[in-house]
Symmetry: C2
Subunit: 443 residues, 2 copies
């Protein structure tokens, strides 16, 4: 083993894994989510999970979709079951330009769309293409757990930029760019979720969008705009994408997982042409080509169905669930504060002073309710005073019951803190660090 030992000489785990010393350095950056250990418990039917990011698919017309699938295989099976192009099927890329027009991206060129295995793969490819170890990615504070996991796996450093109820703060972005560069480090991109942020639940205001675009173009910072929830606003059509203010400065990521369904694993990147070229090569290297069955099924859905009416139905359904959650929070948890989402799946809750969402989680699960502790959404261990609550999957009744159960745990914790001070639960804190692998219920 000595010849193939890696340079850090770490012997931990050697007795259990004969190949331990042969892994690449980057392999040691892969970590399990902090909520993975609770997984089997959380998935029990008696637990109300406010942790998951799974869309609610009960409104989809499954019988009609079943007929469509039959027709696809019977009439185009030889094409659907074959390899396709690495960039993705041109017919679906055409449809995607139409979908993006709802985000204010007008006249998009289908030739600059790259179809991926979910937008997660596009995130991974962009990180592969741009990040040398130690390079900095700017991201909102907090940010999407699955993106942070990719960034860590690729040995990036993440610097969080503050946001408020109107999203990322332009002045804070400028200050962060200045500070990081003053420290001698290289900024490779800004990763941002402008609409119905995961986990923060807020939306970047219209007024700030051209300002963010302008700052990044002036400072030559590429923007990675991640927009899985954009069509799912409760009250209105989407605000124009940052991409629409800076076509050469933005790589835009889209996904069918929330506006239709995640089971086909089809997402996309829309990129300036030269970056598009490299994304195609990187994707061919990673997976050869995306699923033709999935691409053709989704193209058929966009062609044959009134998909925008389905999106509107989803909006109403999620709006009702959001209202159930916000109402329950007001009723049961007046000693917390939370963000008011205008769309998407999440609200971001701030606990009373001294409470720790991470150490409280096992007690919440014992009370049959689950959430994701705020630490999952930071690169640096912040976030213990926050939790992400999702309202996408449980029914409104279950959401109310979940918040009620959670309130009993919060109140019990608060009483203990008031009696004994915040130090009492220090022993509960494990030292695994922030969990950042994107376990399915932390999407």
């Amino acid at each position: 083993m000595s010849i193939s030992a890696n340079s850090d000489g770490n012997q931990q785990g050697n007795r259990l894994d004969p190949w331990f010393n042969t892994y690449a350095e980057r392999a040691h950056n892969l970590r399990a989510s902090e909520i993975r250990a609770l997984f089997s418990v959380v998935s029990r039917p008696e637990v109300v999970s406010l942790a998951g990011g799974m869309p609610n698919l009960t409104d989809l017309p499954l019988d009609r979709l079943a007929e469509s699938a039959k027709h696809l295989i019977a009439t185009h099976g030889a094409q659907a079951m074959q390899y396709g192009s690495g960039q993705g099927w041109e017919v679906l890329r055409e449809h995607i330009t139409e979908v993006m027009s709802y985000d204010g991206i007008l006249g998009a060129d289908p030739d600059d769309v790259v179809i991926t295995t979910g937008s997660q793969q596009a995130l991974d490819l962009m990180t592969e293409l741009f990040i040398n170890p130690g390079d900095v990615i700017l991201a909102e504070a907090p940010s999407y757990v699955g993106a942070l996991g990719v960034f860590r796996a690729r040995q990036a450093d993440v610097v969080h930029v503050p946001m408020d109820e109107n999203g990322l703060i332009p002045e804070a972005l400028e200050q962060s760019i200045h500070d990081v560069r003053a420290s001698g480090r290289t900024i490779k991109m800004l990763y941002t979720i402008p609409n119905f942020h995961n986990p923060a639940g807020v939306t970047l205001s219209l007024e700030r969008r051209p300002r963010i675009a302008e700052i990044c173009m002036r400072e030559q910072v590429l923007i990675l705009e991640d927009n899985p929830y954009g069509l799912l606003g409760f009250h209105s059509d989407p605000l124009p994408a940052i991409q629409s203010f800076s076509p050469e400065g933005v790589v835009y990521l889209g996904s069918f997982s929330k506006m239709f369904a995640p089971g086909f694993r089809i997402g996309w990147a829309y990129a300036p042409h030269a970056i598009r070229d490299k994304l195609v090569l990187a994707s061919e290297s990673a997976i050869l080509s995306p699923s033709m069955v999935g691409q053709m099924a989704i193209a058929g859905y966009l062609r044959d169905y009134d998909w925008y009416s389905q999106v509107k139905a989803f909006r109403s359904m999620y709006a009702e669930r959001a209202q159930a959650m916000l109402g329950a929070l007001e009723e049961y948890m007046p000693d917390c504060t939370w963000t008011i989402p205008d769309g998407g799946f999440y609200t971001w809750v701030t606990l009373p002073a001294g409470l720790d969402a991470k150490s409280m989680l096992p007690r919440a699960v014992r009370a049959q309710v689950a959430y994701v502790a705020g630490t999952a959404f930071y690169y640096d261990g912040q976030g213990r005073d926050h939790m992400r609550l999702s309202f996408c999957y449980p029914t409104p009744e279950r959401i109310r019951e979940g918040v009620r159960r959670l309130s009993t745990v919060v109140h019990a914790e608060k009483e203990l803190v008031e009696m004994f001070g915040a130090a009492f639960h220090k022993h509960d804190i494990d030292e695994v660090g922030p969990g950042i692998a994107p376990a399915p219920n932390a999407l």
Copy 2:
């Protein structure tokens, strides 16, 4: 741009791509396939392509499969269209252990199977997990173009190990391990395709399998055993996998792309438990989870169909096409030599002395026949005297016609070489280097 310039300071392409100086170093290792430029020409119907690696799906029972797809969505659509586990669906993992039993892998644990977006993704994940820049991967000479592309993208170095008509030569493997280590470099794995090798068309003999396993275990070199064609032997059931001789020393890769169909993009890795853990984390980071629709469709196919009879039908069909190719080679190209495949999709042709398959390719395409030049299958520019011919996709009649057309090009080249010497076509040789991105028709 100066702050985000990468370390090599390469300015090439800067005027066309404003982000050129921000790419990661590894991004410069991504290259287009050398045959990509010929793509649009090769796909014209009048061209006989002996270049592609697409399976022939005409024998699949599309009407029955269409009914199965309908039934799947109608009865299990909410599950099929949802996110699944990062490791892959447990029901399909169970079926995969049955499939692997045909390769002599008995009693496999479904918990050690990781389902991926084609086995290409498993290749990519394994390279990500084990390769630091400059680490060595041993691979057969020649080797699969798509694997070489992944290895280059991840900044590995590849050392080719000679093979003969019985596959990888054990003594040459030992010598290579010795030589590489004597030069101070770190070997991370042996990448091998034991059955119906792509592109060489040969199979590792039964006698050599335990020897390869023993050498690698003694020398602590992990084996990455890639077996997409294993069930497609013309004359017999598969030889036992190398994995069956060294369960703790092998990561085995399988695929449904050739034994069923590639359109679902479902492959797998079967790995020692500790490596399996890391593969799951790496796959979650890359794609979150594989397609549930694809996994459930394939599980249904394995459950409801006599899939092994379908494999036997594929075998007969490919055997007939191989026979057509070998017969045509004997008839039309007696001045070449070639390997005699017992299965799979390819034969590996050696041209008469002085001919260059790479520079000859444009003339072949003008004569309406295509192949892949041998250089695609080496890391180091070797292979100009070889070409890979595939017999998987065209009909036997088209194969014969393709070989006939190819023979006219070879004979014309040979005459020129005999008249003027090998130097005459030097001007045709582009300096792009070996193309290694896995373009779809070089699978």
